[in-house]
Amino acid sequence: MRDVAVVGFAQRQMQDYDGSPQCAELLVPLFAECYEQTGWTREDIGFWCSGSSDYLAGRSFSFVSAIDAIGVLPPVNESHVEMDAAWALYEAWLKIQTGEVDTALVFGFGKSSAGVLRRTLALQLDPYTLTPLWPDTVSIAALQARLGIDAGLWDETAMAEVVNRSLTDAEKNEYAVRAGGSSVADLLAKEMFADPLRKHDAAPVTDGAAAIVLAAGDRAREVRERPAWITALAHFSDGLQLGTRDLTRSESAQRAAAAVGGTAGIEIAELHAPFSHQELILRSALGLPDDVRVNPSGGALAGNPMFTGGAIRIGEAARRIWDGTADRALGHATSGPALQQNLVCVMEGRN
C-alpha cells in the first residue's frame, strides 16, 4: 500500500447560499485556498473527484457545470460520485493506490435550501414501497430514535447532552450555521418537531462546499511538516429494507471500524451524525472509548451541507493532526437513511 495523506482542506457552510445550485462560483475560492495551502497549481493535481446530486440541484448534469471551477484545458482526469464527497475521497485514495496518480483534489457541493431537503431525500428510499409515502428523513430518524429510547439504549437527556456539547463546541467554529450551548434542561423544554425529536436534534439544513487534497509519499511531505497519513480507510453499507435492519445499531459502521483495525488510540473522532441519537449509535458501533474527544468542530448538528457533511469530518480531523492537537484521529461519514452507509478514515500524524 502507498502512504497517502490529507494535506489540504477548505470549506464553506451557510444557511441560504445566494448563488446557483451547481456552486461553481463557490468552488473557485475553495480551490484557490487548496492551491495556497499546498503551493501547487491545478497542473499538480493528478485526479479530481466530486460528490453531488442533481436531485439536490434541481437540474441535470450539475456536476459538469461545477467543473468550470477547475478549468479543463488541458483536459483533467476527473470522476464523480452521487454520494458524500467522503466517498469521492475513497475513490481518489484508490486511484492513488493504483499508482496512476500521486495527488488528488476531492470536492463536494450542495445547495440543500433550493428544495425541501427532508422531502428530496425520500428519493433515496425504496421506490416501490417507500418513496410513494414520501417518508421524510427527519421522520425516519425519529422512528430510529424512539426504537432506542423504548429499548433503554439512550434517552432524551442523553440526546440533549450531545446537542449541548455540539452547539457549545460550534461557538469556536467559524463555519457553523447553528451554534450556542445552553443547558440540557433548556433543550428538553423546547417543543417536539418529530416526536421524540426536537428541531435541535436534527442537523440544520445547510448549503456549502468543501475540498480536500490528498497526496502520496514525498508529495505529501513537501506540503506539510506533519501530514495526516491515512492509515486505514473502509466503508460498508446496510441493506435497502429499513424493516430488516436493526436501526438501534449500525452494523455497517461496526464492520467499517473492524476493517480499519479498531479504534484504539484514537484521540479525536469527527462523527457524521446528522441526528443527536445517531452519535450515540456511532460511538457504540465504532467502539470509541469514553475519553475520545468527539466532534470538537461541533459536528453535523452545527452544520451539515449535503454531500460534504461527511468529507468535512475528515477535513476537521486532519486539521487537528496538522496542528498537533492529536496524533491519531478518525473521520467518519454517513450516507443514506438512518445511517445506512458508513465510512471510517483513520489518520496519523508523523513526518
Partner: protein, 318 residues
Amino acid sequence: MSRTLSAPVTVSFDYTRSVGPVLGRFLTGIRDGRLVGARLSDGRVVCPPPEFDPVTHAATDDFVDLPDTGTVTSWTWVSEPVAGQPFDRPFAFALITPDGADAPLLHAVDVRGPEQMRTGMRVRARWAAERTGVITDLVFEPADGEEPAPQPPSEGVGAALTGIVTPVSLDYTYAASPEESAFFRGLAEGRILGQRCPKCTKVYVPPRPACPTDGVPTVEEVELSDTGTVTTFCIVNVPFLGQRITPPYVSAYILLDGADIALQHLILDIPAEEVRMGMRVRAVWKPREEWGTTIENISHFAPTGEPDADYDSYKNHL
C-alpha cells in the same frame, strides 16, 4: 436586493416501473386488499418481501399471506407534513409489524394527535375503495379492543401486476449564478452582457461563474452587439412536447460580434433551407413593454442582408 435572480421550478416525472415476481406479488396483494410477506432464510417473515434474501442473496420465493392487523413498534408525529405524504395534516408515521411477521413495515397511521400513539398499540389497515396496487392504497388506523373488520376478498381480482406508475415531483427555488443574473438583468434593459476571462481573454455569453478553460472568475463585463454570425445550425423537423413553433424551423449557434462563445437561438424570417454557416444575423427584440429578465426578450435572429462572414472569422469558435 439578492445578488441572484431566482424562480420556482418543478421537476416532475411519472416513473413507470416493472415490479418483477417478488414486488409484483406484494403489490398484487395490495391491489387485492391483503398483505403479502415472505419467509427469509433466517426464518423471519418480512413484509414487504425483499426481492433477494439479505443473507443468502437467493431470490425470495416463500410467500406468506398475512392478516392486515399489526402492532406499532415505533412511531413519530409528523407535525409539518410535506407534499405527497399520506395526509396533508399532521399524522403519524410508524413502524408496524403485521401479525405473523417478524419485521416492521413503514406506513402512516391516521390519528388526531400524538397522544393517541404509543409503542405496542394495535393497528389495522384501512384500504382504499379503489386500489391499483400501490403502497398508498392503504393507511393504518387504531384497532384497539375491536374485532378486526372483515378483510376484503383475498382471491385475486385480476391478473398479477407487472408494473406500477410512481409519480415524482420536486419543487425548487432555482437561482441563476451571480454572473447569469447580471446577464438576465442586462436583457431586461435590452443589453447583451458577457464577461471576459482575465487569463485567456475569451468573452463568454452568457457569462459563467468561472472560465471553463482556466478555472478563474470572469470578472470584466463586456457589452456585446446584437449582431453576429451563424456558426452552425440544425433544422428542427421533429415535433415535441412544448414546442412553440411549427416545424421546420432553424435552431442555430450565433457568435455575437465581440464574443468567443456562440449563443443558441432561433433563426426566422428566412426559409429554413436558406440558412447557412457564416450567415450574418441580428436580434429581433420583442416590443419593450414585453421585456423581462429573460432571453425570450429576443424573439429570434433574422438575416441582416450583409455578405456572409469568412469561414476564417469563426473557424475557431465552432
